[in-house]
Amino acid sequence: MSLLSVSNLRVDFNTRNGHTIAVNDISFSVEKGQITAIIGESGSGKSVACYSLLGLLPQPPASIESGQALFEGQDLLQMSEAELRAIRGRDIAMIFQDPMTCLNPFMTIGDQLIEPLVYHKNLSEKHALARAKELLVEVGIRDPDTTINNYPHEFSGGMRQRVMIAMALINEPKLLIADEPTTALDVTIQAQILKLIAELQTKRDIGVIFISHDLAVVADIADQIIVMEKGLLVERGDREAIFTDAQHPYTQKLLAAIPSSIKEASTRAPEPLVRVEHLKTYFETPSQLVKAVDDVSFQINKGEILGLVGESGSGKSTIGRSILRLLPITEGTVTFAGTDVTALDKKGLRGMRRRMQMIFQDPYASLNPRMSVYDTLAEPLLLHGIESRKTVEQAVLTLMDDVGLARAFIRKYPHEFSGGQRQRIAIGRALATKPEFIVADEPVSALDVTIQAQILDLLLDLGNQYGLTMLFVSHDLAVVRHIADRIIVLYQGKIVEEGSSEALFTNPQQSYTKTLLHSIPGQSLLAG
């Protein structure tokens, strides 16, 4: 009998803005000793389904219309709050997406770890602490005696996720639900966490539900895969079946969206537009001097897309912001089309701003929520005198066409758009001043896989159409391979390797580049 069998589960949301069906009559089952992946884009209802099982959805807006969820013979949906609470944290445990905010910043990890033990099994604190230390070792955290008394902010993202996993497993649960546990992590750390989950699953022979929006991530570890779209369960099957001959068109669309092609080397003669020489950008923190960018030199040729790849803390964003003078530079020079940008005064810099623009990572934070699409796009046009009061409306409309936004949305506000549409607005704003050079700082990493593909294609088309030169910053090698002509690999503020994307991917020289390439998820299934 399967560990968990859910039948015709239906969950609705009625908020002030109207009534929506989040989960529309789905049924699935999870076997003990197996990893079941649930794949779907944002808004597909994958998280809502799992949360509703444990009563973690706030009832006023959400309401469970129908369905049954048998866990070891008991129907979770009929249980009272007290009975559900007894199961949560003891038999069913959860891990969440963003390690930065999922641990209580005001309590030591030791206190947070022993809570389920003390509460559910009323162990004494001494025993609970001992048990917690064993778990920390098991999830790969060195010298638990000191780290147990540290606070969450003293750990890196990866380390915190390990603590979360330890917290979930401390009560030997039978079912572990992981809601996008690696999305917020760097690719190398993501690989380690995926390996850890797989090992723990087999060692403890527990059932795991792995929720994700990225098929590639689950390619290596999932035994069974469920695909959901807009609240419906569109396909179900084991790993080989899904990846080799997917039936449902939506699954096929997901597979196609995984960037796998390598961009062929461009044939244009190298004519330098931006040259960076011995760039150093240091930050003064109360505790110590952080050398974010440590003596980096490179050049970007006209019409070329240069990929800047590195993990968090490698200084890739800092370089982008230093070139645009959004950050004070400690040392080194940046020349743009012959003029030395670092020496420009305030007025000179403002004139230069027109020719260099930036696209940001988080679509929700890079647009002013209080300004409509029209205001956001018209502001740069009017500021630099490209358009006059009368002609600006028409220019905005053409810009919207360029980035693929329906003209009807001209008066709408950012909160009325999806992530992908917002990024299109941000791109439109960057193009408004007809710049020659654009820094794209992780423009797609916050988007769903299918939307990601559309935005990348848009950037490529606009690049060709306007002859743009672009610095594409990302931690996702697969994406960079798809879009960049040349790639620079960064590690802790220094350049590790530089070369065309084709050369870099076929025979990487440095060991760090090799480990990076090796940890790209989903390699085993996909041909080279």
């Binding site: 944290g89 445990a93 959860m94």
Partner: protein, 309 residues
Amino acid sequence: MWRFIIGRLLQAVPVIFIVITATFFLVRAAPGGPFDAEKAVIPEVKAALERQYRLDLPLHQQYVAYLSDLVQGDLGPSFKYPGRSINELIESGLPVTAELGAYALLIALIIGGISGILAALRPNTLQDYIPMSLAMVGICMPTFLLGPLLVLLFGIELDWLPVSGWGDIPGDKILPSITLGAAYAAYVARLSRAGMLEVLSQDYIRTARAKGLPEWHVVLKHGLRGGMLPVVAFLGPAFAGLLAGSFVVETIFQIPGLGRFYVQAAFNRDYTMILGTTVFLSTLIVLFNLLSDIVAAWLNPRLRAQLSE
């Protein structure tokens, strides 16, 4: 920790210095002197009085003399109470006002805090509207109205509580503390409601719930520390403001505190008392702002690390 504290204190010295200088000359610019009285004072007598208090010296000399005394901690003689020094008057008034302020803040914290948390648990329901409406009444009801009302009800009609004095008769501290504390309870209620709502929407609360912990455990153990941060930030400046604001309550309940000196000094042009209370108040404001920053930092482990270098 000490580097941070000393740094802030050093920063405070110029502030207090400027406050003293500004007050010193501001006071003398106001019309009417300390010795004007309804019965016109004979010029010779007035000259003698001014000589006694060194007011006949040119202004800048007076200023230098005052500062040199201040450095030694001597706030000078009182004009209104000959034979008594300002230090003595403040020492007599301060403990009472501080005690009144402390009780008022305690009440504000207990009543304000509890109603704020209850309101945050079920927002936009009766459990939210009742405490918040009461808080609103607390804000709009002036002390010079709430005090007499309480005295009328509890002091005279029900005769449960004494109506004046401080510490002479048991229970005479209850009404004044409630009167002064009410307005602050209202502010604390609003702040703690906002703080708790903000915290309860955080991810780590969801993690705590996922661990199957009971609701009150989640709210109090996990939510409280973060939720109360805005209240702590408010307490610092509030306590200093409380001292100056306690005058009305001290008059209504005949409490021998500092508030009465503070305002009467202005009306009597009691220069040394005005300067004395101002110096005292500005130091308190600086100290309490620093204190609330330290407590807020201590509460938040991330900031605590920065502090300890």
